[in-house]
Amino acid sequence: MGVNERKKRVLIAKPGLDGHDRGAKFIARALRDGGFEVIYTGIRRTPEEIAAAAVQEDVAAIGLSSLSGGHNRLFPAVIEALAKINGSDIQVLGGGVIPTEDIPALKEAGIREIFTPGTPIEIIIQSFQEACDLHYRHRSA
């Protein structure tokens, strides 16, 4: 490591068409308060835009938020978009209104963690921390 302590950089994005991002902003603020640098990209992003922004910003992890039910298609689409631009080492986490029965398939597709409205914020932060640690370990290996 260099002179400074390594900063944890993450990107919070909201794919899909539903218009409000209170949940995403709440997570973004909690992560900032936990010492993360959070790149926030706003609502209605395509998986390709999210992946490209994550690579440019050199983040360790992406947090996706979905309320509209598009998660089964959109979350894996972000994983695929990352793979296409050589960004598969970026960890992807997701949250929102997600039925329990959808979770195994999402994890199978490569989403590291899924958060639901009941997940305590401390657990969410902890998960981002672990995702970042894993990513940075690989990076310096």
């Binding site: 260099g2 002179v3 900032r32 706003g42 992003r45 440019q56 910003e57 050199d58 631009i85 310096s140």
Partner: protein
Amino acid sequence: MVEISPLIKAITNRDSRAIARAITFVEDGDRQADLILTGLDPVLIEKATVIGITGPPGAGKSTLTDKLISQYRNQNERIGVIAIDPSSPISGGAILGDRIRMMKHALDNDVVMRSMATRGRLGGLCGAAGATARIMAGSGCSTIIIETVGVGQSEMDIIRLADITALVVAPGLGDDIQAMKAGLLEVADLLVVNKADCPGAEALAMDMETVAREKPPLADNLARVCLTVATEGRGIKELSEALARIDYLQRQGDEHVRRRQQARTMEVLDWSLEMLRPGLQDLINRHDVLETGDPRLLAAEIIKELMNH
């Protein structure tokens, strides 16, 4: 450990992953940055123009930057953007949201964008931004925009990095503008009154004209105040033409060289302080007489000790 020379090659080949990784080395103060920075093409760095866009929060800097990107892309230029926002002094974290306004360029490989937090460093920020601009230039960006919130001292320093500085103001921000008039208006080459669609813009523009006239112009009939409606893209072409004209004039005379030299001096000082910091911190931590005596005298003692190492 990443191998450096392929990384430099990948930067030259405009690989966005490599560019991003190099910027991270610079930001984290990683020694691998040294080799990358040495390997960049100095001709590209000299040719690129660094534009500082500053002003109070909400003035429309990001929206304006978004429209300037489109303008430069229409001229087939490759462009870099460094968007700087403050870190929280308490947690050290930050929310970097300038990208929201520029997402339509996300899939354009010739728009290199990087969000940067101030990280509360006294030195270092200006060094990190300067080195990032050089990496972008080395990857072929002919224009690099640095967006900062124009309030604090560190932002002022960043602006001194730029070849040209545009100060963005807007009606309805009131006291903010009064507060920053003193320093920023002096360094700004161009005053942009954005939100010209809002009431009070005319009066603000007249105010700015008065301020602008106090500064000797680079040339006669050079626009000093631009009116824009960033949300609608109005006045953007005129703004980019004014910036190009200033750049041209500065490069014709010796102003461009003078500013680059000044930026270099400042950046060297900035990096020096940044590199000294850990050693100093270490010495201070190991010093066992710190409980007593005046802090200023202790500092002098510690510096003396550092010099003797």
